[in-house]
């Protein structure tokens, strides 16, 4: 079974390892990967790595500046910010990655269908997308999250829904360009179904732009989710979450700069990490640069 599979897909397996090799050779891919790896590692092993309990309140210790005891200082309830950042990575990364996967997946498929089929379906889908886009994303996400009930998963769904039109619009534009190419006509002439063409010809050709858009939207996603947490619709306190920490920390920014700064830096690093990794990945997956 396994040997047969290996024989039949020998070429795909070879190509996969070739991709890994190229990634290893690309400095920005490695840099991006290291950042992402650190974040993920931190999230996974927060329990072993964190110096304090992230939800332990000690009022004597409130709003301490960074010191050797509290590397990143403490917040208004005396909780250690470094520990909260480590635990917060679990939540924030989950939000970022899940939202991108859901919104990117649904949005791309919707956009490709809309662009390829065109005519009435295109009109219908795009008008719906326009309606979604016409709301400020935060307000709409808020309304949805409130309707679904306050919890992290609902917040993720709400943010993903708000992000779908961004992907759909971009992929639709790409699909309009790709569908005029001759290989689409050739595929149709050899009897391919519309669905097959969308999945095998349209979407793969839009892939590089989707990766770029996804890495760009990642940061925004974490911040919107944070805003939801801030008004009590996302992560419930005392669960630590980067965006929520930045939101609360903002109040203290003038006097206690470390409160908002360190979680903010981690959001920044995550976004940069995904960005440069995504950028490198796009280059490597582009056949023209690959060989």
């Amino acid at each position: 079974m396994w040997t047969e599979f290996r024989k039949e897909h020998a070429w795909q397996i070879k190509e996969f390892f070739f991709t890994l090799k190229l990634l290893g050779r690309n400095p920005s891919a490695v840099a991006g990967f290291v950042i992402i790896f650190i974040m993920v590692w931190m999230a996974l092993f927060a329990a072993f790595l964190s110096p304090y309990d992230p939800i332990h309140i000690s009022l004597q210790e409130r709003l301490r500046s960074p010191s050797s005891a509290h590397l990143f200082g403490t917040d208004e309830l005396g909780r250690d910010i470094l520990s909260r950042i480590m635990y917060g990575a679990r939540i924030s990364l989950r939000i970022g990655v899940l939202v991108i996967l859901i919104a990117g997946g649904c949005g791309s498929i919707i956009g490709a269908i809309s662009g390829y089929l065109g005519q009435r379906i295109d009109n219908l889908i795009m008008r719906v997308m326009d309606v979604i886009l016409s709301f400020p994303p935060l307000v709409l996400a808020m309304a949805l999250a409130a309707a679904l009930g306050p919890s992290l998963n609902n917040a993720i769904l709400a943010v993903a829904f708000v992000m779908i039109p961004k992907f759909a619009r971009m992929v639709r534009g790409e699909a309009l360009a790709v569908k005029e190419k001759q290989f689409i006509a050739a595929a149709r002439a050899s009897g391919a179904k519309s669905l097959w063409i969308i999945l095998h010809h349209i979407l793969p050709n839009c892939f590089s732009s989707v990766i770029i858009l996804a890495t760009l939207i990642l940061g925004e996603t974490i911040l919107i989710a944070a805003s939801l947490s801030f008004i009590g619709l996302g992560t419930q306190p005392p669960t630590p979450e980067w965006g929520a920490m930045v939101s609360v920390g903002r109040k203290f920014l003038m006097d206690q700069w470390w409160y908002a700064t360190f979680p903010g830096l981690f959001i920044l690093m995550t976004v940069i990490g995904f960005n440069i990794f995504g950028d490198a990945l796009r280059d490597i997956l582009d056949p023209r640069i690959r060989r």
């Binding site: 070429w11 001759q182 149709r188 050899s190 056949p287 023209r288 060989r291």
Partner: protein, 324 residues
């Protein structure tokens, strides 16, 4: 000859644009027999590609619309079959090669990936068998090192190689009819000759009928059995290839043949057909060629000439050849 493989009757195609209705094809008749290569010549914009695409119902709708007519393929009217049956015909029974080899392969997949896709789509084989079929087909189009080619991306191949891959791909399912829409136009002359030889050799061996579209009379002469000449959405002359070249009947065909530059003659100024292809929104009345025709006479601008057999197997639509 027995029943023709493809029989097109009275086909009309129009494009509805904001400027008006483009009459791209008007009452076109065409038959292709089993095993023959039918050439279709005409100037740019005369509707050759529209004709080719409408056989497989590949006209974009809107703006295009097949207004009427029938396309019988093995006794079945393609214009009326269900979408499911149409997909079976496409690729299985009728395949098509396009003009631009540069863009007729998907740039993000390897050649092997795309060939396998087509083979698996139409034949009940697993991917190992499909690979064998692909390699065999690539050998038949004289590709060096087929196994290597399969793992390459389209941009790594030259135009000629890509077009050969396309030929291999389209013939891999053993269609009965191959529509070749100017397959060699984008290639340079030496490569063009090579590809044509391969195509000729392969279709004769497999017994595939071909509708070969070109604006290049030299290519047509080399390859085809019969030729149809198209002008402004209509077929004006049809004859076996040597009859057409030896004794063209229609003034337009005559003009086309005169307009070929030749190396060995003295440098006479080339004969050109005056004027340009008329727009198809409001084509000239009567014979559509009459404004450019050097032999036009009284009925040409208001009577549409019939398409009639003036010699054995030689059809022409022109008032010069009698009126009954």
């Amino acid at each position: 000859m027995d029943e023709p493989l493809l029989q097109m009757k009275n086909l009309s195609v129009r494009f509805f644009t904001y400027q008006g209705v483009v009459r791209a094809l008007e009452n076109v008749d065409l038959t292709i027999r089993r095993g023959e290569i039918m050439g279709l010549v005409g100037e740019t914009g005369c509707g050759k590609s529209v004709l080719a695409r409408s056989i497989l119902r590949l006209i974009a709708d809107p703006p295009g619309k097949i207004m009427g007519g029938e396309v019988f393929f093995k006794g079945e009217d393609i214009l009326k079959v269900s979408r499911k049956r149409l997909r079976e015909i496409r690729g299985n029974d009728i395949s098509m090669i396009f003009q631009e080899p540069m863009s007729s392969l998907n740039p993000v997949f390897t050649v092997g990936n795309q060939m396998l896709e087509v083979v698996i789509l139409h034949q009940k084989v697993n991917s190992l068998q499909a690979k064998d079929i692909c390699i065999q087909m690539l050998q038949q189009v004289k590709m060096p090192d087929p196994e290597q080619i399969l793992s390459k991306y389209p941009h790594e191949l030259s135009g000629g190689m890509r077009q050969r891959v396309m030929i291999a791909m389209e013939l891999s399912c053993r269609p009965d009819l191959l529509i070749a829409d100017e397959p060699t136009t984008a290639l340079d002359v030496t490569v063009q000759g090579q590809v044509l030889t391969i195509l000729d050799d392969l279709v004769r061996r497999l017994g595939v009928s071909v509708l070969f579209i070109s604006h290049d009379l030299g290519v047509i002469a080399q390859l085809c059995d019969r030729v149809s000449v198209m002008y402004a959405g209509k077929i004006v002359e049809r004859a076996p290839v040597w009859d057409l070249f030896a004794a063209p009947k229609h003034p337009y065909t005559h003009g086309l043949l005169q307009a070929i530059p030749s190396v060995d003659e003295e440098r006479d100024p080339l004969m050109v057909i005056a004027g340009t292809v008329p727009g198809l929104i409001q084509p000239p009345g009567g014979c559509r060629f009459h404004p450019r025709c050097y032999r036009r006479f009284e009925p040409c601008d208001h009577v549409v000439p019939h398409f009639r057999e003036v010699e054995k197997n030689h059809f022409v639509a022109c008032h010069l050849y009698g009126d009954e």
